[in-house]
Symmetry: C2
Subunit: 354 residues, 2 copies
């Protein structure tokens, strides 16, 4: 309490919590730096020293402090990913791909959700940069001005995912949403459909949706077909919204022969709405989706859709970041993982197929 006239003792190390590298060093009879070497590159340490250090680590249950390591070495093992929402399973699959590859390489994954808002995204980019990540993954190639500036100036490598139309800020991985949508709709036209509706996500702050919509418009226009504003509906990413949009189209536009859904979520929700109304698929109306969720294969009838490499986008993004983290040489800047139109029973097949 009172120091009773004695000078306060010189401030000493106040050990906090976990054991540290110095404890291991003392126990093994070596210096801290030798333990550090053992952990980061055991080959630099003599065989018998290795054994003593291993025994010491095991004995006191030492777990390295990545925070201290990050500060002193000026590099963390954290990769930051910003996705619109984790509840959309295409992003969950992407995250799974990221996670699997990063884990194998000793990296950790920091996740945050922008909720399809570019302002939110910019804030999150800043928050992420504060953690000094080794790499950053963002969704799409459209960002707010502030977000883009941060991404351009950050030291860590950056991957933009799910769209490869524009020049990337650093690197990008995905496929052409325009091409995929264009080819899907062109296929529908080849299959004999003429009056084709569209259910698409709001295109603000979502360049993937915007490109898919453009693909639809280009295919329709290119084939000389009518583009009718009333045939196009916005929907948020829920089955219910897909059903609602489908219901509206069925109510207001009985002339429609097929509905192109820019997400399987809409296609499944919409198809269930059709079932509910006794509208037969594909006899009364054709339906196609986008993403190839597992459910589309299970549905009755199975849904025509676009298979997209969602898990692979995560895998490849992680791999590219790791390549750049380990060696500074630039690898690929733009990676097209492609897509595949999958014709199933929910539409008539295009003449060219089968």
């Amino acid at each position: 309490m009172n120091s009773s006239g004695v000078m306060a003792a010189k401030r000493r190390r106040r050990p906090r919590g976990r054991t540290q590298i110095r404890d291991v060093a003392r126990l093994a009879g070596v210096s801290a730096i030798t333990v550090s070497r053992y952990i980061n590159d055991p080959g630099k340490v003599a065989e018998d020293t290795r054994e003593r250090i291993a025994a010491a680590i095991d004995k006191i249950g030492y777990i390295p402090n990545m925070v201290a390591k990050g500060l002193s070495s000026n590099r963390t093992n954290i990769v930051a990913a910003i996705i619109p929402t984790i509840t959309n399973s295409i992003f969950a699959a992407e995250v799974s791909g990221l996670s699997d590859v990063l884990k194998e390489n000793g990296h950790s994954l920091l996740i945050s959700e922008s909720g399809y808002s570019l302002e939110r995204e910019a804030e999150l980019i800043q928050t992420m940069i504060a953690q000094r990540p080794a790499g950053i993954v963002v969704t799409g190639q459209v960002h707010s001005e502030r977000g883009a500036k941060l991404l351009r100036t950050v030291e860590a490598p950056v991957v933009e995912t799910w769209e490869i139309g524009a020049e990337p800020i650093d690197m990008c991985v995905g496929f052409s949403n325009f091409d995929a949508s264009y080819r899907m709709v062109t296929g529908l036209i080849e299959a004999g459909y003429r009056r084709i509706g569209l259910i698409c996500a709001p295109i603000t702050a979502n360049d993937r949706a915007a490109r898919r919509r453009e693909g639809y418009l280009a295919a329709m226009g290119g084939a000389g077909l009518d583009i009718v504003p009333g045939w196009m509906r916005d929907a948020k990413f829920t089955f219910h919204e897909g059903a609602r949009a489908m219901g509206e189209l069925l109510d207001d536009h009985t002339e429609l022969e097929a509905i192109c859904c820019a997400s399987d979520i809409f296609a499944i929700g919409g198809a269930m709405e059709c079932q509910r109304r006794g509208v037969r698929i594909p006899e009364d109306i054709g339906i196609c989706g986008f993403d190839d969720l597992e459910l589309t294969r299970m549905f009755n009838p199975p849904l025509t859709t676009v298979h997209v490499p969602r898990y692979e986008i995560g895998e490849k993004s992680a791999a590219m970041l790791l390549a750049r983290i380990s060696s500074e040489k630039t690898v690929e800047r733009k990676v097209d993982l492609g897509f595949e139109i999958v014709w199933r029973g929910s539409t008539h097949p295009p003449s060219s197929s089968r």
Copy 2:
């Protein structure tokens, strides 16, 4: 190039990358610690100083280094969550709840997937501890010995989620999977079903599935009904597996009147298999699920299921961790967020309802 006989200059600070707090301090004409105070508690700094610092931060675009902050203050703003798989949407929803609450409170979320393996989980716990998180979220109350030991000895608060049957290591949030399953099956029995099958996930390394299975067994046994091993099937968490298991039960046990599915994934996959075979729901067979995925409401007929607070589990877990992080006093240790049996058209209703 060559030092031409001159002594090497004393090693100096080598500025690395981003601007730092000292740059802001210099520009604002104050010391680093004052900037630190401004950032962490602006009230401690005089008004005019605040303005100068704010201007300086804005001018040079300073972004704090959370790695350095974490080391010097001995606390990070990272929360680590370990879930079985992010592709199961119940965990995606939980993560969303975690993320939303943590984000609001300036914390970041580190995610990793154990793939339903306790050994993997233990490894991940260790990896996470290395990051010195401010809090840890794990799934279930069953862990490997090593995992449990790490969780018991870690300094950070720990929340076990999705099951509250056992005493928590530190805190737990969820509901009783046993009770939920028991009440669901009891409801089926009240509805008149006697020969009830079960499709359940493998119960190894998954206490939630194990409790659900026990609930089924207890309800059947308690009602004096036959428990037939052939009526119970394992399935992994895919729609396809649900369909497969359902198909087997339909093939081998035509006597079954209802199938209790321990996950909506099985229920939906199974129900689609029934549709495919022309087996009518609920006329020919009753089906109930578990989790109340959005799709169960959209299905034709809508599926009877157990509503579980998946988003809320994330929210509440985050809130409890934050409470503990900000003040050391213990808050609730065991939080029951409940569940609700939702009777829909895929089963006959129990006599007691409606």
